[in-house]
Amino acid sequence: MNDFSYTQAATAKEATGRLKDQPQAAYIAGGTTLLDLMKAGLAEPPLLVDITRLPFKGIEQTKNGLRIGALENMNAVGEHPLVVQQYPAVSQSLLLAASPQLRNMASIGGNILQRTRCGYFRDAAFPCNKRVPGSGCPALTGDNHNLAILGVSDACIANAYPGDLSVALAAFDAVLTLENAKGKERQVPVTEFYLLPGTTPQKENVLEAGELIVAVTIPTAAHAQRSTYLKVRERASYAYALASAAVGLDVQGGTIRSARVALGGVGAQPWRSREAEQVLTGAPATEATFKAAATAALQGARPREHNAYKVELAQNTLVRALQQVAGA
């Protein structure tokens, strides 16, 4: 690990100012992702700017929906009554992730920015286009068992976001509030926050240099209230998803009025499937509909040797999640 300096910022302005002065610096909140990367030599920030004193806290009802401060921790949000009641899928996505210890440390903003678990990215001894652009991607013909099948490119097949929360956020139209060095705020939907790898897998999201995640706001909706997050992994706990599905349905008289679908573990980014939603909306809430939606969701899959199973697994996961919600 490199030597680094550490400072605590009292205000967002101070924090963004520090990064303006020293663009290689990094923000740190819970540190559950960043410290791992630093220990592995994959991040070498000369300065850590501690943002935990920033006022990005609180879980409150607003006219646009539930606003969650980016510095709230995963457990606090996952167990919050408003989240549990209005957004079961969001609550479950948080509480099925990591371990209680990590969830107590990790911030919502940090969770949204966690990096891939691709073994080739995590070990500097390997070539990796995401880490060293142009160096190559051994995962294409190597160990790609856990990697993505949707939104991938010939440069990178990593699930850039390996976690759970953003999958649920993407499903339910959550919007991120970002603040830049000038103190200016902007709103970015989670579905537009992440970037597909294309030929530039090193660029993973739309954050500008020094920009902070202030909050995430999830709109109130019937389909969010009737939602679930289903996570599949071979180990019962403390593992990333092989496939997951965040789904919400508004069913009236057996007909689906509105639907939300996002998949995790299979996409180069949290994978909102408007194709599946299209199939679901207006259709009867039956297994046939769910299966058709699952087929639509995986239409564009580009599987490789060891992750081809994810097509079927993701479809089955989605169908199961829809059944659970429809039956609820």
Partner: protein, 785 residues
């Protein structure tokens, strides 16, 4: 006429032995007082070493750029193959191998030349005043390796398979035969042929390997090392460094797990000693978790093809086993699966062939039940197939093929309670309610299945020494250069010593983990409890003999002028056998004789039969083949049975173990509490191998892609149900003084098969590739039943 009393007639009266005594070291561990090998930080001038390893799996080191690293603060030295002092001997020569002894597992020693043979091979060592400085400088050090195309495994198209049999230094088994297996198989009315694979597994003890080397003088070395055997390590280091054994001291007071990977000597321990000598300071080296995947061996990736031939009634006629696995460039290592294959069931015709491929990996090593664990997955799965094929209950087919004698030697068993294990396990599990047809039990979305399998593990021959020092005040110090892997050795030997000396456990201090103590074998191969208890027993007998001799010549003793052979010792009291009222307590005798304390020394044997051991001359316990002959003429094994329930989600591919019963017959159980933990741990590790554990090497670069505990999955609490564990009360008069068989390994044997058999019962699909992950279950579910 021999006037020595024959104390060997009776094992000690058990008071403490067999009780569920809580760990005597428990308090030290939970308060942090227990010092692990990396925690001896008091040494004056202690500095830190960090190993820099090769990124690539094959090539030549063509250059170093240490300019930036040298400039870093605190850096004391940077060693490469160009400037590191050489060991006096290495395992690469016959002479070196002999000097180093049985703990040499990988004969190759890194940092001797520019050649790179595996990813993770040490290519430089940085020494600095702090760990952080050493890590940072190591990161700045640039090592250029010109890469060549490596061989990743036996599955690699470039791999060349060979049969290692006949090579003088082959650890692998080569070919074994009994009867005419091929012909018998061809003629058998019922046949099962199947191929099984097993992923590379790593031991991953919680405590990483660590070494602190302290040269107390130019020719005297003390090493604090995370090892399963201080005596073995002492001998190995003396061999490598060319020092008399007496000038090497190895200390391991506590060990945070080993599972086999801390049994052998590995390069990092030797390199730390060489480095410490070169810098003239005590040096500490702790392997990182990723380095634990490339520094201390692993269970090799392997493929087994098994052919079973049987009568229509299910009696085995032929068993043919073929194993192919990956080894290193230098050592023909393969787990000896066939030993287990050849002895578990009565079968007149048997053949086993081993094939190896040399790849760019380090040498594999013993991992909990090496051979028995993967071998049992193949055999116990195929036997399950045969049972279903013939419509026989899985327990019945095992009873039908029960081996009343060891089929591989024809010897009678010293004891065998396998039938009781089946019976008790079935009762505890409720096996009689089993639906004989598979794929028929549903619980909502889940398919529910039951499976069982046999477990066994040999009583490996071993011997070692012990010293007991009994004080007239009723306290005792007992010493063995044993190690406690965290399994309870401190506790169970305290119990044994208490009973041997007739005092309470809290009056005994058991010291272990230091090579200045009486030499003994490693804690490995399930030999620890049996060897150490036997040694302490014989040392206690030595002590009682001395005290008896004192008493019979002491005019003030009630035993004055008695014949020593007429005297017995019961709970610390020396008394006449014929008239137990006549005698005295050891304390009275010692006090009268003006003795504050007295020592006894003994050499115990495990697996060779303690009675026959009496007649044998004292042997050097460090000889490779010590105790290999079995003087009692018995085959010695522990046995057991596992029962498992799984819930399979046929659409999502997940498998969860929901019920577990293990019944083990392992001779005398010294402490049911620590023994239960051993069985739970072994079965849990087996469930890990069955459902999730796999170290993945990139097929082109031969480098691990998941060398960390986030991506290499071992079971968590949520994966393991409340396990039912029972032991069959078993008295074995041949094993050793206390009839202890050792239970460190048996519980992992058969476990993966029990899981796989339950999956078969649940789904009607046989999964033969470990680990059985959701992708494989989904693929199987697509196949017709």
């Amino acid at each position: 006429m021999n006037s020595e009393p024959a104390f060997f007639e009776t094992p000690p009266q058990t008071v403490a032995v067999g009780q569920p005594l809580s760990r005597v070291d428990g308090r030290a561990k939970v308060t942090g007082a227990a010092k692990y090998s990396a925690e001896f930080n008091h040494l004056p001038g202690l500095v830190h070493a960090v190993i820099k390893t090769s990124d690539v799996a094959k090539g030549r080191v063509t250059g170093f750029d240490s300019s930036a690293a040298q400039r870093e603060p605190g850096v004391l030295a940077i060693f490469t193959h160009q400037n590191l002092p050489k060991p006096v001997l290495t395992g690469e020569t016959k002479e070196g191998k002999e000097a180093i002894g049985p703990s040499i597992q990988m004969t190759f020693m890194p940092l001797q030349s520019d050649q790179v043979f595996y990813a993770g091979q040490p290519v430089a060592i940085v020494v600095a005043d702090t760990l952080e400085h050493a890590q940072h400088a190591a990161a700045k050090l640039r090592v250029t390796v010109t890469p060549e195309a490596p061989v990743a495994s036996y599955q690699d198209a470039k791999a060349q398979l060979f049969n290692p049999g006949g090579k003088p230094d082959a650890d692998a088994e080569g070919t074994k035969r009994r009867g005419k297996a091929a012909a018998a198989f061809a003629a058998a009315p019922a046949q099962v042929t199947a191929t099984y694979t097993h992923a590379t597994n790593h031991h991953n003890p919680m405590e990483p390997s660590a070494t602190i080397a302290h040269w107390e003088a130019a020719d005297r070395l003390t090493v604090y090392d995370a090892t399963q055997g201080v005596s073995w390590q002492q001998r190995a280091l003396s061999g490598f460094l060319g020092l008399p054994m007496e000038q090497v001291r190895v200390i391991t007071k506590y060990l945070g797990g080993g599972f086999g990977c801390k049994g052998p000597i590995w390069p990092h321990s030797v390199l730390t000693a060489l480095t410490a000598k070169a810098v003239g300071r005590p040096v500490k080296l702790v392997l990182t978790r990723p380095q634990m995947f490339t520094s201390v061996g692993h269970r090799e990736d392997q493929e087994q093809t098994l052919r079973l031939g049987a009568t229509k009634e299910g009696k085995l006629l032929a068993l043919l086993h073929e194993k192919t696995s990956t080894t290193s460039q230098w050592d023909d290592y393969a787990e000896t699966n066939s030993k287990f294959m050849g002895m578990l069931y009565q079968c007149p015709n048997f053949e086993a062939i081993t094939k190896l491929a040399k790849a760019n990996v380090m040498t594999p090593t013993w991992m909990r039940a090496p051979g028995e664990a993967p071998g049992s997955f193949a055999l116990e799965s195929s036997l399950d197939d045969l049972a279903y094929q013939l419509g026989i209950d899985p327990i019945q087919i095992r009873l039908l093929n029960h081996a009343d004698k060891d089929p591989s030697t024809g010897q009678p068993w010293s004891s065998k309670s396998l039938k009781q294990c089946y019976q008790r396990g079935a009762a505890l599990f409720g096996w009689s309610k089993r639906n004989p047809k598979n794929g028929l039990t549903r619980d909502g979305k889940y398919l529910v299945g039951w499976g069982m399998a046999t477990a066994t593990y040999p009583v490996n021959n071993s011997q070692g020494n012990a010293r007991v020092r009994l004080y007239a005040d009723g306290h005792a110090v007992v010493q063995v250069a044993a190690t406690d892997l965290g399994t309870g050795t401190y506790t169970v030997i305290t119990q044994v010593a208490a009973d041997c000396l007739g005092i309470a456990p809290d009056k005994v201090r058991f010291e272990l983990g230091d090579s200045v103590l009486p030499t003994t074998n490693i804690s490995g191969g399930s030999m620890g409890a049996g060897t150490f208890s036997s040694s302490v027993y014989t040392a206690s007998q030595d002590l009682w003999q001395k005290l008896t001799k004192m008493a019979v010549v002491d005019a003030k003793s009630p035993l004055f002028k008695a014949k020593p052979t007429e005297v017995e010792v019961v709970k610390g009291r020396l008394q006449l056998k014929a008239n137990p009222g006549k005698g005295e307590d050891f304390a009275a005798l010692m006090k009268r004789g003006n003795l504050t304390d007295l020592e006894g020394f003994g050499q115990g044997h495990y697996g060779a039969g303690y009675e026959s051991a009496q007649a044998r001359p004292a042997a050097n316990s460090k000889s490779d083949d010590a105790g290999k002959e079995d003087h009692s003429g018995h085959a010695m094994h522990s046995f057991g049975a596992h029962f498992c329930e799984v819930r399979v989600d046929p659409e999502l591919g997940t498998v969860r173990v929901t019920k577990w019963v293990s019944v083990v017959a392992g001779g005398r159980i010294l402490n049911p509490k620590t023994a239960r933990s051993q069985v739970i741990g072994g079965a849990t590790m087996g469930i890990g191998a069955a459902l999730m554990e796999q170290a993945v090497r990139d097929p082109h670069l031969a480098r691990y892609t998941n060398p960390n505990l986030a991506d290499y999955h071992v079971p968590v609490n949520a994966d393991i149900p409340d396990m039912t564990v029972e032991f069959i009360d078993e008295h074995d008069p041949y094993i050793n003084a206390l009839g202890v068989k050792g239970i460190g390994e048996i519980a992992i044997v058969g476990t993966a098969a029990a899981v796989g058999n339950a999956i078969f019962h649940a789904t009607g699909r046989r999964l033969r590739d470990l680990p059985i992950t959701p992708d494989k279950v989904l693929a199987a579910m697509r196949q017709p039943v």
